[in-house]
Every structure is written in structure tokens, then in C-alpha cells.
Amino acid sequence: MTDMWITGGRVIDPSVGLDAIADLQISDGKIAALHLHADSGSSQPVPAGVHIVEATGLIVSPGLIDLHVSLREPGFEEDEVTETGTAAALAGGFCTIAAQSDTSPVVDNRSAAEFIRLQADRAGNCRVHPLGAVTRQHEGAELAEIGQLVAGGAVAFSDAKNPISNSEVMRRALEYTRMFDRPILHFSMVPELMEGGVMHEGFEATRLGLRGIPAAAQDIMTGRDIALAELTEGRVHLMCVTTKGSVEQIRKARSRGIRVTADVTPHHLLLTDQVMSTFDTLCKCNPPFRTQDHIDALIEGLQDGTISAISSDHQPHAFEKKQVELDAAPFGICSLETALAVCIRALIEPGHLTWSQLLAALTSGPAEILGLPSGNLRPGSPADITIIDPGLEWTVDARAFQSRSRNTPFHRQQFRGRAVTTIVDGQIRWNLNQDSARG
């Protein structure tokens, strides 16, 4: 295999605080070396016979990592299959995703986890790590075979959008997963306060006559999870944090050394409950889109590291499933292919985060939570690289998605910046201009 040189790009590796113009040398699927350009602009000559990827004017980042993506296979192939979901990941710049356990049957046993990996291998797109269920059938009652799931490749545990409301079960799960040093990715919501809700509980919900999900539904469960993490010394990761109350509690807990981490989705950083005024099922999300004061708190959480990861929380749904009344429509948006652009709009354009901070939340942050060796550009690490054109103007066209689904509220919206080349194991797996060129 010939070496690859990615030349002239702005190389950002948040894991070591690097942000400089450099050439990146890749050998045998690994990062081989980084050749910094001198301040004068001069650079080391590129050897003959190597594959050159010209990246002048582009950002060269460690491959993006997504903590929780619903691939829907097996069981919901009308929404997504592994092949399309992983192609969508590559098109969005993600080299690695963790696949949610909310398939049918649920990934609560070793063979189910192995099937996820098998399908990912067959697809040959991005890396896929299974998430194992915490409890059997996501019922929140009995522990799933966590040790067997680890043997089957599970990197972490999650009951997806099903909160584990029984505190005793959650406590034992946190204690049990300690043995394997794997986190529990929990959807911290009080089910009784969520029941029947379709949007954020606030003035807009009152105006529209829609049942709301109060911020307290998340605040309360966040507090409980933190208390249990402290009690058990287990690792809890809170998915899809959307409230200022949760951000404050997580900040305080982390400062006290409790092992709690958190992520936020790109769309919750951009959209508020006002998008519900057209009753658009494409905007129905769980947790719901909240208000600007909550968004401000989430951004502060990203700025000071309280929230260390951004996840697309990809929730593909077949077209007809969203073509129904609001209360009958499923929650979630198809978000892998818009995640980076939405982050740029919400965080980079207003100046809330530097590129290095944003990329940390998309690379080293999630890598650390899942204990992955990737998410950095250090020599010897897997050559998972995302090349981003930060200035590229483009319009979202859901019909052109790699995903099997099109449920996005961003259809026809203009954005600036997107991934142009996605490299996994030193191979170009996706290239914007050649669609899915394979290196």
C-alpha cells in the first residue's frame, strides 16, 4: 500500500492542542508523521510515488466520532440499514459511530452485538461499535448479559431512549459495568413527566395546545444519575442534554470528581420550541427543542468542557411514519449528514467555539468516553481523518441523502462548511466530488 500525504491543510488535533498548517503522512493505515510547514510557508518536499491529497484551504481533523446512532437494522429496515446508515455517517464526516441497541430484537445479547459488527464489515463504510443494552428488552428491570455483550464487542451500554427509571436497577447497572470499565449512556428523563408530550413545555406549548415535556423531566433524572454515579463510582454518560438545570448539575458534579460526562445534539443547539408553530412532525424530537436560555447554557457547557461530546443522535424514520398527526409521529431527525454543518452554524459562525473546541467535541471527547484509540492524529493512531471545507456553501437536499430516510427539518436550508473527504484506516471512503470513491 502506497503512502498517502495530505498536504497543505490546516491540521487540527484537539487531543494535543495542535492547530497548524502541516502535511500529514499516512502509512499502512496509520498516522506516520506530521510535517509542519515553517512560518515562511516552506515545507518538506513530498516524496515521489505517494498518493497526494491536496488540502490547502481545508481543515484536516481526526475522523469524527458519533456516540449514538440508530442504524435500525435489524427490525426497522424501512428506516435505515447498516449499509445506508454508515454511508450517511461517512458523508457527514464520521469515521466511527456507536450503534444504538434499539433494534428489534434489542442488542441485549452477544449474538445481536456480533450481528451489528458483521453487517458493518459487510458494508465496509465507517467503523461501527455496538452499544449493548443495559437491561433485557430495554425493560428497565433485569440486567442484560453485559459481560457477554462486552465479549461481542459492545463499547458501552445504553437502553437508547428508554430511561431506566428504577433507581435500584440503575444503581446495580452502574456497579456491574465498573468491572468492564464501560460507561452507561443514559437517556435521563423522568418517564411520567415525558408521557404524552410532543414538545418543550413552555409558552409555545400553551399557545399551540400541545402537551409539553418540562425541562424538569431531565433535571430530576440528571440529579438522580449523578447521585448514583457518586454512590457507585460507576461511569454515567448523559445523552442529549438539553436543559440549563442539567448543565449546572453536571458542571458541579464534575468539579467534585464524579464520573459523569454528557453530550448534546447539533439540532438542540440551533432550534427552539418556536419551530413547532407549524405543527411540523419533522421537528418532533425527544428531548424536545427548548428555548434560547437553555441553548445558551448548553453552549456555555461546551465552552467550559462540562459537555465534552456532540452526537448527531441520528434517528432515521421512513417518510410515511412522519406523514401522520403530530402525536402519532415518531420522535427524532435524520441528522448524520447535517450534523457538522449545523454545528458550524450554531457554534463557529457566532464565535461561541473555536474550531479546535468544536472538533474536540466531535473527536477526542467521544473517543475518551468510549475508550477508543482514535480521535487524534498522533503517530501510530489509526488513520481516521476527516477533511472539512469550512467555507463551502451548500444546500441540504434530503432527497440526496445517503441515509435511507429523509426526516430532516433542514431540507433546502443553506449552510456553510461540510466534510469533503472521509478517510478510514488510511483509505478514502467518501469524497464529496466523486460521491463514494474508494481509495
Binding site: G196, F203, G209, R211, V324
Partner: protein, 323 residues
């Protein structure tokens, strides 16, 4: 009678009637004035006009309703339209067909106007987006019920001669009431002062941002109000306990003879119905001189005739413009 003969002086220009929130004061007045005119022309809705001859009006009722459906059917027939009724007791999903497909199927039978009642807020808005017919919201879950709001306002205007400057209390389950929301939007635009009154569990904390006052003590506000609209206690929409007992509700928020005597002499008592006698109001109030409950029913017919005429007129004008 032709559309051109209708005395529509104010603005309209709407293809659908989805709610009162998006209508202007002048548009509301246009409807009320037309209802007044139709009242004279049809002798209180008893005589037939041929305004909608040749048009097909479909009642799409995805939620049980006898009163509203009958009122709409009668209004359409009084105007000479053909009507078809489609009732589905449950969501379309349970039958495997999406709501939109069901509506499109009905529309393909040659329907010009669709009257939609649905348990989900926004369902008529979804139809308006996907159908070519006019859509009239006959109640979408806990969101709006524009013709009910209009008929309440029309009834008040007929009895008290105006809306501007009046104090109207909406009493009861505000949280789950589409009637309350439509009344609030309509009354505020027409210059009334609106107080919402009921158990604190049934009044959303932020509703004052709509421009209404919030009261938990019915007796305290009673001497100030010109009209009370007693909303039905909607047992079917209440999950869990919003108040301890019917008896306690009736004692705190029920309209009874004692309260009538503390109120203004010419207090108007409205109730959108169906009324729970002994809960929202006692029989002596329901059948007493302050009650205009049966007028509301008659006025409902007139308001619905007015709305159907305005939408049909707009539709005909648009189609003439296209061809």
C-alpha cells in the same frame, strides 16, 4: 342569491379557517357581520339559501362529536351544499392508512370543503398543506375551535351590543380547552378584557403571556365580569388527578344561584356544552334568565354558515381568477 349579493365589506382573503389566532380584528368583524346578515336573510337559520349549490362539503370527524357535526351539516345544507360525513373513531394509523391518505381519498371524491375534527393539535393544518380543498377546523385537540370561539363572541355581541371594553371570564379547564384558546384570541383582538379562572392545575403557568389575566378565586372576580363562559370539565382529556373531586370543583368553580346573586345584574352565562349539570353550573342557572346557552346553539349555525360562505366565496373567486 349569489356571492356577489353578500354584504362582505371587510377583508377576508383566507383559503382556510384554521384558528382565530392568525385572523385580524377586521377579519373577525367580517365574519360576525355576515352572520348577522344571514340571521336576517334566513330567519334565524330556518330558511334555505342557495349560495353553496353544487359544492360538496365533507365532514371529516376523527373524534366523536354530535353537536358540532350536526351544526356544520345543517349549516352547509341550509346554504344548498351537498354534505358527506366521514367518521373514524380512532387514528388513521390503526387502520394502516395515514391520515393524509385518508383525507386525499375523500377529497378525490370531488369534495370542495373539508370540515375537520381531530384529537391532535395541528391536524387540520396538515390537511391544509396537503389538500386542494378549503379546510375548516372544527376543533383540533387542545388547540383551537374557531367556530365555537366565534359563536361565543357573536352571542355576547348580540346580547350586549359590543365586545370592546367588556370583561369576560373563561372558567374551568383552560389547559385542555380549545374553546378557551379560540375565545382568548378572538376576544382580545376585539378589545375585551379576558380573565381565565380555574384550578391552578388546569391553567398553564405561562398563559398570561397571551394577554389574559389569571385568577384562582372565582368569587373574587365575579363582581367585575360581564360574561362568564363555563368550560366543560373534560374528563376524557385529563390524565391523572387535576383536582380532588367533582364536588370540590363545583364548590370552587361551579356557577350556582348564590354566585349569580353576587354578580352583575345583567351577567351573561355561556357554556359551550355539552353541559354537566351540577358541575359547571346548577340547573337553576342553566335554565335561568342569565343563561344564553340555547342561543349559542342557534348562533353556531349562523356563524358556520358565515364561515362556509366566506371560504366558498374565496374559493370561487380564486378559481375564476385561475380560469
Amino acid at each position: 342569491m349569489q356571492f356577489n349579493d353578500l354584504p362582505v365589506t371587510g377583508p377576508w382573503g383566507e383559503r382556510h379557517l384554521l384558528g382565530l389566532e392568525t385572523l385580524s380584528r377586521d377579519q373577525l368583524t367580517t365574519i360576525l357581520d355576515l352572520a348577522d346578515y344571514l340571521r336576517e336573510q334566513t330567519e334565524n337559520g330556518t330558511r334555505r339559501l342557495e349560495l353553496l349549490r353544487g359544492l360538496v362539503v365533507a365532514n371529516l370527524f376523527f373524534e366523536n362529536s354530535t353537536r358540532t357535526r350536526t351544526s356544520f351539516s345543517l349549516a352547509a345544507r341550509r346554504l344548498g351544499a351537498d354534505t358527506v360525513d366521514f367518521t373514524a373513531s380512532s387514528s388513521s394509523l390503526s387502520k394502516g392508512e395515514t391520515f393524509i391518505d385518508t383525507a386525499r381519498t375523500i377529497e378525490a371524491m370531488g369534495v370542495d370543503m373539508v370540515i375537520c375534527r381531530h384529537r391532535t393539535p395541528g391536524a387540520p393544518h396538515l390537511l391544509a398543506e396537503h389538500l386542494t380543498s378549503c379546510v375548516l377546523n372544527a376543533g383540533d385537540g387542545t388547540h383551537e375551535h374557531p367556530t365555537q370561539g366565534l359563536l361565543d363572541i357573536f352571542t355576547i355581541r348580540r346580547h350586549l351590543g359590543r365586545i370592546e371594553g367588556l370583561t369576560v371570564a373563561l372558567v374551568g379547564d383552560i389547559r385542555h380547552s380549545r374553546v378557551a384558546r379560540s375565545n382568548i384570541h378572538g376576544l382580545l383582538k376585539l378589545g375585551a378584557r379576558v380573565i381565565v379562572c380555574g384550578p391552578s392545575t388546569l391553567i398553564p403557568a405561562n398563559i398570561s403571556r397571551l394577554g389574559v389575566e389569571v385568577a384562582w378565586d372565582f368569587d373574587a372576580i365575579l363582581p367585575e365580569v360581564d360574561c362568564v363562559n363555563l368550560l366543560r370539565v373534560q374528563f376524557e382529556r385529563q390524565r391523572g388527578a387535576f383536582f380532588p373531586s367533582i364536588a370540590e370543583y363545583a364548590s370552587l368553580f361551579g356557577m350556582n344561584g348564590k354566585r349569580i346573586r353576587r354578580a352583575k345584574k345583567d351577567l351573561l352565562v355561556l357554556a359551550p356544552g355539552p353541559i354537566n349539570r351540577g358541575v359547571e353550573l346548577t340547573p337553576e342557572v342553566a335554565d335561568g334568565p342569565h343563561s344564553v346557552i340555547l342561543d349559542q346553539v342557534t348562533n353556531g349555525l349562523l356563524i358556520r354558515m358565515a364561515c362556509l360562505s366566506l371560504l366558498a366565496r374565496e374559493r370561487t373567486a380564486t378559481q375564476a381568477g385561475i380560469s
